[in-house]
């Protein structure tokens, strides 16, 4: 039994159902492994971790410049900002808000730079249900193409203090 030392000569290859199962399981595992690089090259949703080092103050300044040059409106006191299609957009996470509100166009690709100016935050776009980690000191760049239009809410899903559950923002996507 498993509680006694095994009889000598225990090292034997599997046979029968056991061997069949090990073979099946191994094939399934290889299949799953291949799926990821496949999707990396041919799939449209990937997390490549593209990022750059940045000082939080420098990032905040760049966000302000982005807002002043591209602002097109305001909602609940927060600027609505429309980046150029194919261009760079900036989003700042902080205790406890997302700034600014981005106005994007469906089917257009943007280089979205997201960083935090204080703690770690979780970028969670609903109801798309797309989630990325946001760290202070890192400019996390997502090459993003909205494939649906409407009003989307960004919530924070990384604990960031007592106001964590109040942290919500918006992304607007027009047709």
């Amino acid at each position: 039994m498993s509680i006694y030392p095994p009889p000598p000569g225990w090292f034997k290859a599997p046979h029968g159902a056991e061997r069949l199962w090990v073979g099946l399981a191994m094939s399934w595992c290889l299949m799953m492994f291949v799926a990821m690089p496949y999707w990396h090259f041919y799939g449209k949703q990937n997390s490549t971790g593209e990022a750059y080092r940045v000082e939080p103050a420098a990032f905040a300044q760049r966000v302000q410049r982005f807002v002043s040059t591209n602002q097109v409106g305001e909602l609940n006191g927060i600027p609505i900002v429309q980046p150029a299609p194919g261009g760079d957009a900036y989003l700042q996470a902080q205790m406890w808000s997302w700034y600014p509100i981005l106005k994007l166009k469906k089917g257009q690709t943007y280089r979205l730079h997201i960083s935090s100016i204080d703690l770690q935050h979780g970028f969670s776009l609903q109801p798309v249900n797309m989630n990325f980690q946001i760290l202070p000191g890192y400019d996390h760049v997502l090459t993003l193409t909205p494939t649906s239009s409407g009003e989307f809410t960004i919530i924070c899903n990384e604990f960031c203090g007592i106001g964590h559950h109040l942290m919500a923002g918006r992304i607007l996507v027009e047709e």
Binding site: P5, E18, F33
Partner: protein, 583 residues
């Protein structure tokens, strides 16, 4: 009888124990040699584990009743505080204490050896206890509202980090004590040939514990120094990668320990034998080499680390460690099937399963743990840990949904099942209220599974984990989760209540028995319904010849498992294809 040794030295005598006179007793049930020093520490660690299971469990029900929106019990600050406490007390304190008890058992009783060092065992125990009290205290006074992960730049009081460091050092000392025991057992020739499979599995757990605790030291010591102002800052990306070396690798200790306990309980409840020592041990070796790579699961949507690192590591090296789990998923039930068929339960595909000792809580807890872990935990874990699928799952309630089936429905339930033997055999007390004992694993298993289903489905709607208010009351915008999400959160709450009843019942039964139960010293433990005929009939050196090794029932079960796996896996890729394009 003389034997030749592997190295060709002079012939050694029969293996014999290395205990000092009067420091060992023969178990009245199994005949195995129980080192009295190891027994003392098994009891100390097991009792500590149960105490923290209670503390963590009270935390659990408070949290469950808070995430159930209709109840929303705790205020926000206490929710995050209790969440910190619950995570650390369950995932670190309770479970590592139990595992050290298992290591002390495996290294001594199953190898006919004394414990390497009582002094080290005391140091380990005291450090772990002092450390645990230190960080529990810091949390309860509100100085460490940072959650179990304490992600920098969130900062806690220095005693929080110091407590964790002391606990980790203590645990490492206990693990070294286990390796020391392996060493002297081999040196003193207390056993012949290779170690028993359960000991091999415990060794795998101990090896993983070493890597885990080394990562813990490397992340916590600088963080502690930062919290007292000696180091100016901690890079958050570096912190996350290194912390999860502690955080996830510790869960892999749990996997190895749980699987070892499955084999142990298979032997104790139905006299099962491993159908292939080579295959089972090979699977443990795959765990040792590759399972720790899966800490990458937590870093899949992080900035700074690239796709190649993410894909290679999250796959546990081409899923070799997943292959190991799938192997145990076959060999464990297969050994049960062979053992029960040998007792005459041959009818059809599942006659053996229908006639298994389901009223033995050591068996029911073990088998439920196997099914819940395999179907629930294994499948969700691999899928959520798929690099791209993680984009939909990171930091949603799907994650706690996954790990409550693995570490609670899997490991904790297996440990509860083992306790139904630990108490009669090591504490030498007969359980009270045996009918309640028989019910307890089902109550806990059903509760946890229900709760985890609620969590997983709510998370699929996007509901975040570690979040006090799903309604976002007072926030400038609200995501307005689907009403289905609310139903699922209600299911979470109901499941949590049932699971807590199962947990509390377990603790009540154990405490009542350990302190007030009747001693069974001098006689075998009362059978839960073990068929001793079959246990005695299986001589340790009996070969496979002459026994029916067919396992058609298990083969069907694992094929159903594989089919479920495939369906869930492809369904998730399909859902992913609806997400915005992102790179």
């Amino acid at each position: 009888m003389t034997t030749t040794t592997i190295s060709g030295d002079a012939p050694l005598a029969e293996p014999r124990g290395n205990h000092a006179a009067g420091s060992v007793r023969a178990c009245d049930t199994t005949g195995l040699p129980v080192c009295l020093s190891a027994q003392r520490f098994m009891k100390l660690h097991a009792v500590t584990a149960v105490v923290f299971l209670l503390i963590g469990g009270i935390g659990a029900i408070l949290l469950g009743l808070t995430r159930w929106p209709a109840v929303h019990l705790l205020p926000a600050d206490w929710y995050y505080r209790i969440l910190t406490l619950h995570g650390l007390d369950m995932l670190i304190v309770m479970i590592l204490n139990f595992e050290i008890a298992i290591l002390y058992f495996a290294g001594t009783t199953l190898l006919n050896s004394r414990l390497f060092s009582s002094a080290m065992a005391w140091i380990a125990f005291v450090l772990m206890l002092v450390g645990a009290v230190m960080f529990n205290g810091t949390i309860l006074i509100g100085k460490a509202d940072v959650l179990m992960t304490s992600y920098a730049p969130l900062v806690a009081h220095p005693l929080f980090y110091l407590g964790i460091i002391l606990f980790a050092v203590g645990a490492l000392v206990a693990v070294i004590n286990f390796f020391g025991t392996l060493y002297i057992a081999k040196r003193d020739h207390t056993y012949e040939g290779s170690v028993p499979l359960v000991v091999f599995g415990a060794t795998a757990a101990a090896i993983i514990a070493v890597v885990t605790l080394l990562h813990g030291a490397v992340v916590m010591i600088p963080t502690f120094l930062w919290s007292v102002g000696v180091i100016p800052s901690i890079d958050p990306g570096w912190y996350r990668v290194t912390w999860w070396g502690l955080g996830h690798m510790s869960q892999q200790v749990n996997v190895c320990a749980m699987v070892s306990v499955w084999y142990l309980l298979g032997a104790l409840t139905v006299g099962a034998k491993p159908i292939s020592e080579a295959v089972c041990r090979g699977a443990f070796v795959l765990y040792i080499l590759f399972i720790n790579l899966a800490s990458a699961h937590h870093i899949l949507v992080d900035p700074g680390v690239g796709a190649a690192w993410k894909i290679w590591n999250t796959s546990y090296a081409m899923y070799l460690a997943v292959l190991a789990s799938m192997i145990h998923g076959f060999t464990v039930p297969a050994s049960i099937e062979v053992a029960l068929r040998a007792k005459g339960f041959q009818r059809g595909l599942f006659g053996w399963l229908a006639n298994a000792p389901w009223s033995n809580p050591g068996f029911s807890g073990f088998f439920l743990s196997l099914v819940i872990f395999g179907f629930g935990g294994g499948i969700t874990g691999v899928v959520l840990g798929t690099q791209q699928i993680n984009i939909m799952a990171h930091n949603t309630l799907r994650i706690p949904g996954h790990f409550h089936v693995t570490v609670v429905g899997g490991t904790t339930l297996a440990f509860m099942a083992l306790t139904y033997y630990l108490v009669p055999l090591i504490f030498q007390r007969e359980f009270y209220a045996k009918t309640w004992c028989r019910i307890q694993p089902y109550l806990f298993g059903i509760g946890i599974t229900t709760m985890a289903i609620g969590m997983s489905f709510a998370g699929s709607y996007g509901v975040p984990r570690r979040h006090w208010d799903v309604e976002f009351t007072g926030a400038p915008f609200a995501p307005a989760f689907d009403s289905g999400a609310h139903v699922m959160l209600g299911l979470l709450g109901v499941g949590a209540v049932i699971a807590f009843l199962g947990l509390f019942l377990f603790i009540a039964l154990v405490v009542a028995t350990v302190f007030f139960g009747h001693s069974n010293a001098g006689q075998p433990m009362q059978a839960w319904h073990v068929d001793r005929r079959a246990a005695a009939a299986i001589h340790p050196t009996a070969g496979a010849g002459g026994e029916d090794q067919r396992t058609p029932g298990t083969l069907l079960l694992v094929l159903v498992f594989l089919a479920s796996f495939a369906v869930y896996y492809f369904a998730n890729w399909l859902w992913l294809s609806d997400v915005w394009h992102v790179r």
